[in-house]
């Protein structure tokens, strides 16, 4: 397929190049239709939907707590962030106050998730641009985090560990020691990645001035997360609309002004450092004892102890696991700062035991829409860098 356009020198042939959906650098099944004038991209059109699984529609036939395992599968690199977003939305809808201990454990684990997700991003982004060894190092560290998740929740990736009202289980004894062991070594590993990349002339040539996203365009396209902060805005939901007690933590929002691939790289590396700081603060704050789940009659399951010893507890336990919970009719929108940006859950209740409508505002979907701003007018060789830098997860784009 080819079309002709009018150029300054008269008629010129352009070429339409189909990239994907099966392409190793599209990080999933993304198709981009590129129109090229020589080596210059003059039009880029992302085509999505190859991974659409109807998660939002499926939620409508499940009870509120049955939806949690589906949220894991939306963004399969940041499962706990998705769990958190959905649980916070339902808690807001039902008016459940989560105990501080559970809130701090949630913060600790979502920040570990952020590190794990950024590691996958860094590894795959570097391998896209030809830096093979960084990929191996990043996955080595990510594996350590997944082992910790497995020990805590029973699953490496599909954790479903956050539940409506708190956590699924009391974390196992010694979990803080494992996390602390990871946090002790991780800053050294980060320095290793920086040694390999930050001042590397090839890395700089491939990333500096490439895929520039201007701040005005970013806001008009509602780009969020590190992709927006690389362009100069400090919009971070953890600071702007704090949730799960983020207001108790002291951390700096990472911003850069250049708006190019290199700037977003620096933002994400900085965020990993800040996440380590937040994790350490959370470990200080988590009380060793205390409830890991709210005690709300009829909305949150009672403790095992209560279920086994009181008839009332048994009744509520039975009712919640057979019938589910029934929040009052209404609709809420709860956004959290996922590793990719503003992850919003819109949950609408009609007063029954199933959500009437669940809508996921996925950051990848919205950020991907801005891809043409990054690549049009630039070289085709930089398209791969520009796709990698916005850190999309196709499961989340298509839901």
């Amino acid at each position: 397929m080819s079309t002709t356009v009018q150029t300054a020198s008269g008629k010129a042939k352009t070429m339409v190049l189909n990239m994907g959906p099966q392409h190793p650098s599209t990080h999933g099944v993304l198709r981009v239709i590129l129109e090229l004038d020589g080596e210059i991209v003059i039009k880029a059109e992302p085509v999505i939907g190859y991974l659409h699984t109807g998660i939002e529609k499926n939620c409508e036939k499940l009870t509120y707590s049955q939806c949690i395992p589906l949220t894991d599968r939306i963004d399969y690199l940041a499962n706990l962030s998705n769990n958190l977003g959905y649980c916070l939305a339902v808690e807001k809808l039902a008016g459940i106050e989560v105990p501080k201990r559970a809130q701090y454990i949630r913060v600790l684990l979502t920040e570990m998730t952020r590190i794990a997700s950024h590691l996958v991003w860094l590894g795959t982004h570097a391998i896209d641009l030809g830096a093979m060894s960084v990929f191996l190092y990043c996955f080595r560290e990510r594996e350590e985090i997944l082992k910790i998740f497995e020990a805590i929740s029973g699953q490496r990736m599909m954790t479903s560990y956050f539940r409506i009202g708190g956590l699924a289980l009391e974390p196992p004894p010694g979990y803080l020691d494992w996390i602390s062991g990871f946090l002790d070594t991780f800053p050294g590993h980060l320095a290793e990645y920086e040694d390999l990349l930050t001042e590397n002339p090839i890395w700089k040539l491939r990333t500096q001035g490439v895929g520039v996203l201007k701040l005005d365009d970013a806001i008009a396209m509602a780009v969020s997360g590190p992709s927006l902060r690389g362009s100069g805005s400090d919009y971070d939901i953890r600071k702007y609309f704090p949730y799960s007690s983020y207001e108790d933590f002291d951390f700096k929002v990472q911003t850069q002004t250049a708006g190019d691939v290199y700037a977003r790289y620096l933002v994400r590396l900085g965020e990993m450092r800040e996440s380590v700081k937040i994790c350490r603060q959370a470990m200080q704050k988590i009380p060793p004892q205390g409830p890991f789940r709210a005690e709300v009659r009829g909305l949150v399951p009672p403790s095992r102890e209560e279920m086994k010893t009181s008839i009332e507890g048994l009744i509520y336990h039975f009712k919640i696991w057979t019938e589910g919970i029934t929040p009052a009719p209404g609709q809420v929108y709860q956004a959290i700062e996922s590793p990719r940006g503003e992850l919003g859950f819109f949950v609408c209740s009609d007063g029954s035991n199933r959500p009437y409508r669940v809508k996921v505002r996925s950051p990848s979907f919205v950020n991907l829409q801005a891809l043409p701003h990054l690549v049009v007018g630039k070289l085709i060789a930089d398209v791969v860098a520009s796709i990698g830098t916005i850190d999309i997860v196709l499961g989340e784009v298509d839901r």
Partner: protein
């Protein structure tokens, strides 16, 4: 929280000043404000929300639609606006009937609405007048029906 409750009515007040009949209903639920607008007032009032320096809702976080089948008006289209300057959120809602399921497109005001509107058209079957390219986005081009409608079974038609 206090500031939020004081300032959001500023947006509502400004909307009512601009167009006394433009605000059909204001709903407050769990600290969130929803302003229900008649369809023909949407573009005018959306423009005000974005351009007024005291409101500055330049960031359209999300758009979504809810199907209230069989109640009429059946579709609710929600706009989740965020003001980065004042750290505020506001939800606009427009309700349309089955027979006339179309809403003016806001892509001219918030370009990010482009894919959201395509998604709502694809999954819910609400048209957006003036959209530059209103085609299916998640479902295949030859798909029949709009899967998120309540009269569309979860298992699909088989």
């Amino acid at each position: 929280m206090g500031a939020e409750q004081q300032d959001i009515p500023l947006a509502v007040r400004k909307l009512k000043e601009r167009d006394p009949n433009g605000v059909a209903e204001v709903i407050s639920f769990r600290g969130e404000t929803t302003v229900v607008l008649p369809r023909n007032r949407l573009l005018n009032l959306a423009e005000l929300l974005k351009s007024d320096p005291e409101l500055d809702f330049a960031f359209l976080s999300d758009m979504t639609a809810v199907d209230r089948f069989p109640i009429e008006p059946r579709f609710e289209v929600n706009y989740h606006l965020t003001s980065l300057t004042y750290r505020q959120r506001l939800r606009l809602q427009v309700r349309v009937t089955t027979k006339d399921a179309s809403v003016p497109s806001v892509t001219g005001i918030w370009p990010t609405a482009n894919w959201h509107e395509r998604e709502i058209w694809d999954l819910m079957g609400v048209r957006f007048e003036g959209h530059p390219n209103l085609t299916r986005i998640l479902m295949p081009d030859d798909w029949e029906g709009h899967p998120h409608r309540k009269d569309y079974p979860v298992e699909g038609y088989r």
